[in-house]
Symmetry: C2
Subunit: 213 residues, 2 copies
Amino acid sequence: MPAARRTPTGTHRTASESGAETRDRLQAAARACLRQDGIAGVSARAIARHGDLNQALVFYHFGSVDGLLQAVARTDAERRALLYAERLAGVKTLKDLVSVGHQIHQVEFAEGNTAVLAQLVAGAASSPELGAAVQDGMQAWTTLVEDALARVLADTPLGAVVPLADIAYAIASLFLGLELMGGVDGDSTRLDSLFTSLDAVSGLVDLLLHPPT
Amino acid sequence: MPAARRTPTGTHRTASESGAETRDRLQAAARACLRQDGIAGVSARAIARHGDLNQALVFYHFGSVDGLLQAVARTDAERRALLYAERLAGVKTLKDLVSVGHQIHQVEFAEGNTAVLAQLVAGAASSPELGAAVQDGMQAWTTLVEDALARVLADTPLGAVVPLADIAYAIASLFLGLELMGGVDGDSTRLDSLFTSLDAVSGLVDLLLHPPT
DNA sequence: GTCTATATTTAGATAGAC
DNA sequence: GTCTATCTAAATATAGAC
């Protein structure tokens, strides 16, 4: 229990303050549950266990388990959009883009955010409402990648040959798939190796696209 | 009900014949359930509905719902290994490889096999046994792609720079991720566009790797 | 807002008739 | 092998005390 605070109403703390904290804890618990047990292992009781919370709070604050998952999807999409926009802003070359991708990957994978997203996407198959919530987040993601690609490949032959929207979509899909694959094997070293290779190849492609006279 | 057949025992049909057919129908129903409802919507009763079968048959033939899903994973892995080995055998160039990939994609996506696999992989998070069953199938997949890549990129600089195992792993992950993404949006045209671009790029890379003197 | 208790539904699994 | 009936456990969701 956090320390009580004085409020204008005279109660120990405002309803909105306390409720907001509980809602945050519920979302955090839902993320932990999705990460460890997957969408198939999610239930109000399982989530409550992960956050040492009361099961009934799920329904009071979010109406249903699905409602809580939708909230997680929307909150994460917002956070992801901010993080990616900030990091991708200064990208000028393909090598830069791969480098930023590597950085984002390390943060997001370490925190398990991509695993959560992958499980939510899988869960979208059994809930149209959850599907809608997830879709918004994916679009924000692919749009940001697409904009970065547009800057990097502008005025190059590759930009004319390849539809950027498709590449962005493929990149987002690849991250999702890698996270799912990582769940079935031990992984961990594989992704770093992959990014090292991408770094080398992207450097070569940059040279091809922008020859140093 | 299929037509009864005479058997040595004098019964209408042998136990093994009938049992095998029911097991097949249960697996088919489980696939349909995974495709339409996702791993979160799977239950013995839901599966039974999809195949117009009795719920108790799941437990008689496979011991548990998880057992049935494991059987689906292993059966699909076998089928996939055969299909891929056959198609990939004659691949000599990167453009060939992309073309075969496109063909396989069209068949597998149309039948929903990749969607089933994606849901099984997501479900592996809540069942180590299912995870083990799925992992075998993924390894067979990535190994076949890796062998094809080794043939295509043999004696080229790219083969030396890029660990083939990682690329194969990434390709398998990409297919999984694309299928999951396709579940949340309308998709359908996106993949064809992506393969068209890949076809163009792979042709260029082939030219770079094997210049026509 | 949070807790306990509970009503209701659904899922996993088994026993026994056929 | 397949079916009906049923037991048990777990899940969703709500009511009411605090």
